[in-house]
């Protein structure tokens, strides 16, 4: 915000039902988050040297971590705003962090979910999510990475 700003307009977070005043119901956000199977599933076999610092996979996973699940990217997303049936940037970013991690064993299942009707292909790359994120994550990059991984897994 520019120095000397005198008035700031505050509204409830967009894209979620308002309960009262500034309080919104975050359940839809968490339902989307939960639908990508966001929990780690330890792989039966982890390749030696997996996630070595500086490795391509470690850099990719790292770029998607640190999410504070504040829902700001969700609120900034045009597809979410128009009521598009969309998993949203935060959930897809979480999916990437797991799909790209060789220690995790449920990538195929997650790729099926994010490749489905409510998933990756709904994103039109307006990229408001990345500019809105308060901790510097760019979910649209994660979505692009998931699209590449989806193609690779089909091949």
């Amino acid at each position: 915000m520019p120095y000397g700003t005198a008035a700031v307009r505050v509204e409830p977070l967009a894209g979620l039902p308002v309960i009262r005043d500034l309080v919104v119901d975050a359940k839809p956000f968490w339902a989307e988050w939960a639908s990508v199977k966001p929990w780690f599933v330890p792989a039966e076999h982890v390749p030696d040297g997996a996630m070595a610092p500086g490795s391509r996979e470690a850099v990719l996973v790292d770029s998607a971590l640190g999410c504070i699940s504040c829902g700001v990217c969700h609120a900034s997303c045009d597809i979410v705003q128009v009521g598009g049936d969309f998993l949203g940037p935060a959930a897809l970013n979480r999916a990437l962090a797991l799909v790209a991690d060789p220690r995790d064993g449920a990538a195929d299942e997650r790729l099926r979910v994010v490749g489905g009707r409510r998933g990756l292909d709904r994103c039109h790359y307006v990229q408001s999510c990345g500019s809105a994120c308060p901790v510097g994550i760019d979910p649209s990059r994660s979505i692009a990475a998931l699209r590449r991984l989806r193609i690779r897994s089909r091949g």
Partner: protein
Amino acid sequence: MAEAIDTLDADVVIVGSGGAGLMCLLHLARRAPWLDVTLVSKGAVGRSGCTRMVQGGYNAVLDPRDSLELHFADTLEGGAYLNDQDLAWTLVRDAPSIVKELEEVCGCAFDRTADNRLHQKKFAGQSFDRTVHRGDLTGIEIMARLRDQALRIRPRELEDVRALDLALDASGEVAGLIVLDIASGRFAVVRARVVVVATGGSATMYRIAAPAREKTGDGIAMCMRAGLHVRDMEMLQFHPTGLLAGDSLLTGAVLEEGLRGAGAYLYNGNGERFMERYDPQRLERSTRDVVARSSYLEIIEGRGTAGGGVLLDISHLGAAEVERQFGGMVSRTRLIGRDLAREPVEVSPTAHFQMGGVLIDSDCRTTAAGLLVAGEDAGGAHGANRLGGNGVAESTVFGARAGAAAAELASERPLRNPDRERVHASVERALGALGHNGVDPDALLIELKDVMWNDCGLVRCREGLLSGARAIEEMRDRASSLGVPGSREWNVGWQKALDVVNQLEVAEVMVASALAREESRGAHYRVDHPTRRDDEWLRYLVASRTDGGDLELETRPVRLTRRAPPTRYADVP
């Protein structure tokens, strides 16, 4: 008209969704996945409490050159030998397996070394670099991954629901929990075979304070109302480097200990590196209690900055290096228009962590059958002062143990019927402040924060504590006339009224304990009794309330079962 009260049943009810509560859930679900578990959280599950605010990291012995004995000795030295040694040993012994579980089972991404081992950083008061971390914002990663596990386990989640009191049956046995749904304003009784209390401490009652504001001593207050004993309540840790940001809520937020570990300097308002006078050997890397008290003395003796603080400066490492190692802290200072990477930043000691709490054994059992307490609500593991990096270790280690203990207990204990009179008394007490004008909870809290800061803060004396005790007694009188207009639904003022009652109850115990301990040890410093007295005071204070609500204090000897202080401090020549 009698208030309508919902009833629901569970095998286990967990209060609190921080590190202790969610780790309890994880271990409970592993041991006994068939159990019906209810998770009660005053805020959003996994986003409340202080584990999420952990910056520095997690102490665990992982390197073959380190040892459990060393970590244990550091913990006791840090705790000035007031620790319950069984609890401290349990913490140290279990921490390596729990941190591995967080990584390998929950998928937490901790920083790794070039040869792909867990990186362990330097923290104050420790003889080995053993603090596992993810950058300088470790708690976000741990809590996010534990929250994801909770989404897999799917307990019944009661979010934005606060616990009011333990429900007891007619014979006084633990029968469950009395709760209030903040959103609807409706009350409910959760009947449960086992209750796990993990709500966190109450350092929010100080003028400058670090913890999440929902932490208002609810667990300790309700356990004491149910007749449980607490210990070490005079032991409240101040972190030396809380941010000063005017009236902003960021005031009090911690700038992490790793900054001093990495070589940051502290200057007073005259530009002097004042730690040279207080601890010439360890300087800024001295333990939290020493650095916090030194800064405080500089400030009250008139050598502080204009804003009432001291200056923390790490810019000599170079902006790029500071940004690389402490990105989270740098952006935190930039939020208030300062830049830690390039300039000194004004800081003050900030109330941070409650060492004291409910008496437990190493499986989190209390003297009340069916009641377990884990995390900051419990006392004993840290003694008189907690080491940085031992907090999240405590909450996850003991959370896990509470989960295992709850699984076992739930198969043995029947559901009991809560005594209706007690339930209604608790509900009536909560309703007392609602729907009319009266004493303003915000004003009362501000008063309490000043009393605790001035009279029961970093430097204490008998006169101050007596005056604090009188002020709190008088405030507790006024608290019976608290009043908040408006309806029940999402009434923030009403919730604050319920908070401040708990804060006052805990404050009373803290002041009484601080008055009774006539020596200085760890976080507790008495200017009128400035030395540590191992000859008389290797004893811990235990407090409880009588049926009439009066406070009773006794002392018990610390059992030096594993290690005695190598140097005995005494007031004799």
